[in-house]
């Protein structure tokens, strides 16, 4: 039998009760071809060092919990195979642009506040009675927004966005993409309410179209496109309001 292959994971550690700033810790573990980075982290936590903290849940790219920096790139660790890095070292860090709470766990309260502010739900001026049935939608109407509805709030786009890193008040890619998703929904009537937030000084106009949010998105949501199209829609609304001030909002 051949010698067991190993791989080194260098992981950010931050234990706020013990240290002022994050440090790094390396773990040499068995390399398995079918393991993803999350499997390796779980192996470390279960067998090597139970004090390591990180978030995860579904292990299949749906929950969006296990986003971390893998060799400097925001990734879902459940979708990042060790074999793509072997025999090199794998560096695992918490998502950048977010404060670190502990080890690989970041504080996402800021995002949650922003997400709520854009009202990512169907807004109706008046709900119709249940007995009148569902709000029907054609396949074409669904296709309008479907791509933007695939967001799993994994926050990789925030970690990839230098604007969010430099201007933390920026509402950011995922929240704007979700606002755009509901603005495109034929059942929704909340566009004007969302515009107060996304067209504010912390909204779409902060975006300089770096485009990395789209590159790192594991669900092909394309937040960069959502932001630019929101800019076009907002500008069109503004021009219309000048040319046709008595028109319906």
């Amino acid at each position: 039998m051949g010698e067991k292959k190993t791989i080194t994971l260098t992981v950010t550690r931050y234990r706020p009760e013990q240290e002022e700033a994050p440090t790094e810790q390396s773990y040499e573990i068995e390399f398995r071809d079918d393991w993803v980075v999350l499997d390796a982290l779980n192996h470390i936590k279960d067998r090597v060092d139970g004090t390591l903290s990180f978030r995860w849940s579904c292990r299949m790219g749906v929950c969006g919990s296990c986003g971390m920096m893998v060799n400097g790139v925001p990734k879902l660790t459940c979708a990042a195979f060790l074999r793509d890095y072997y025999p090199g070292e794998v560096r695992v860090e918490p998502l950048v642009n977010f404060p670190i709470l502990r080890d690989l766990v970041v504080d996402i309260d800021d995002f949650m506040r922003k997400l709520k502010a854009v009202k990512p739900w169907v807004v109706r001026r008046e709900e119709k009675p249940v007995e009148e049935g569902e709000y029907l939608q054609t396949p074409d109407q669904l296709a309008e927004y479907k791509q933007f509805s695939m967001c799993i709030n994994c926050l990789l786009c925030y970690a990839a966005c230098p604007v969010y890193g430099l201007e933390p008040e920026f509402i950011g890619p995922a929240a704007i993409a979700l606002a755009h998703r509901y603005n495109l929904d034929s059942r929704d009537e909340g566009r004007e309410e969302r515009k107060q937030v996304i067209a504010s000084s912390a909204g779409i106009w902060e975006c300089t179209f770096v485009g990395e949010c789209t590159e790192v998105c594991p669900k092909d949501v394309d937040p960069a496109a959502a932001i630019q199209r929101s800019k076009v829609a907002t500008t069109t609304d503004w021009v219309k309001s000048i040319l046709w001030p008595w028109g319906k909002r």
Binding site: D140, V210, G211
Partner: protein, 135 residues
Amino acid sequence: MSESEPEYPYKAYRRPMPATWWLRNRKYFLFMMRELSSVFVALFVLLYLYAFFLLSKGPVVYGEFQKSLRSGGFIAFYVVALLFAVYHSCTWFRLTAKIQVVRLGRWTVPGSLVTAGAFMGWIVASAAVVYFLAM
């Protein structure tokens, strides 16, 4: 955070954003080059407007200015400005399809065609300018 949840007792650690963040990967660097290209495009436009201003001062003044444009410094500037202008245009045309969805009836024009259309428009406009200058 709801009232029932206990406050996290420790201070979160904020990592500073280094001034060299744009050197972290190739795409950030190319983005910064695109931003920098705007400076050269703006300088070229200012120079062009200045030329118009001098034109209003008469042929002697404008002729002197034209002569100065043949200096090595100006030629180097024009070459750099041209390269940045081409880079700026190409990067933005490549992004056109992300910004504007084009629909013809129920058909959504593929992004590649939108981008190709933008490039075609650019080539036609440039050819028209060259034709005008050559006339």
